[in-house]
Amino acid sequence: MNDVDLELDCRGMLCPLPVIELGRRLAEVPVGGTIAVVATDVAARVDVPAWCRMREQEYVGEGVAEDGTPRFVVRRVS
């Protein structure tokens, strides 16, 4: 999917690995850019928005990847 600047494949990773991946790779997108976390772990649904709040980034929302896996989109604001 090309609607984001970077998509992280976190399928199969258990918490807190998807959020760690998000934190590590945020710098790879420009300020104003978006990053998607595709994760099978159920905790990501809560932890990605919570991460955005704590790190003062913008949580854009939840969608699904082509295979139906939940996909959480974040915009880098700083």
Partner: protein, 388 residues
Amino acid sequence: MTNASGTPRPGPGVAPPVYLDSASSEPLHPAAREVLLAALDQGYADPRRLHGPARSARLLLDNAREAVAGCLAVRPDEVTFTASGTEAVHRGLLGLHAGRSRRGAAIIHSAVEHSAVLHAAQWAPGEHVSVAVDRLGRVAPDELARVSLRAPGGATVAAVQSANHEVGTVQPVAAVAAALGDVPLFVDACASAGRLALPEGWAAAAASAHKWGGPAGLGVLLVRKGARWRNPFPTDDRVDERASGFENVPAALAAAAALQAVVAEREEVGARQSALIDRIRAGVAAVPDVEVVGDPVDRLPHLVTFSCLYVDGEALVTELDRRGLGVASGSACTASTLEPSHVLTAMGVLTHGNVRVSLARDTTEADVERFLAELPDVVRGIRAELGL
């Protein structure tokens, strides 16, 4: 080197372990220990029989019931002893549900109820509807009333805890009861009983002795005089028609003794614990990327929960334990299921890297300072291993 119970004894110069998990189970209160030992010798007989030892057991049971009723400001005939807090929850909630089965079909509950409430609601015939909470974990009385009015087939009962067992937030129970109108309210008071006065407005309520320093294996079910409650389980022919099984007289008496002691000292202990929790909340908040959750003021006196970004909850609990600090966690990796805590999820706060600290009645300032001294290093160490 081990002691009698087989646990390693700290070597010279090593501080003894600090227990910071009283919300899971409070150590037995000294007042309960003495009573328990005496009651084991005097309260063994069947309290329904007519001989001397039976009358003695019956007297102890009645004394326990009166003492518990006095501590909770209820009538003795509103008190039933059960085999656990969970059983008291099951009987309280399901008994109100059964009592109104002609007028409704659905159980309403807050999203942050204890799993004992959630499992009972799932088990019961009919629907169950969860009501959302805010970021602090608090349910809104008007929202709960709205959901209750819209419930499929009508609401039989609503369940709202007195205070949350994971994050400490006190629920607006009296306002919930007022908003519900004639739908009866079940209050799970296991987290607060003894520590805070019982809130008003319930038709049935539940408490658990080992949460206040009584023995495990003893719950308290309260059913308001006149409440429409029907036994949801097979009946039995015991002293109390709402209970089943042979009465645990020694445990009931010891639980009552502990409750009396805890209620007598709660103003002093609660104020001291609350100040120590404030200290922990401030100290923990100073660690980078840590979120302290739950209401900072309107809360249980003895517990606090926080979550550490990027940190695995199991690693955190294990490393703290290695350093002699026993805490609980609501993170998925430390739970019996793969699901993260439904309480943290409902609040929308970080579910990983979670720690719940809860103080025992004799937890000292030095214990708290030791925890606060160790925690930043533990968090830093786990993050460093990840290269963060």
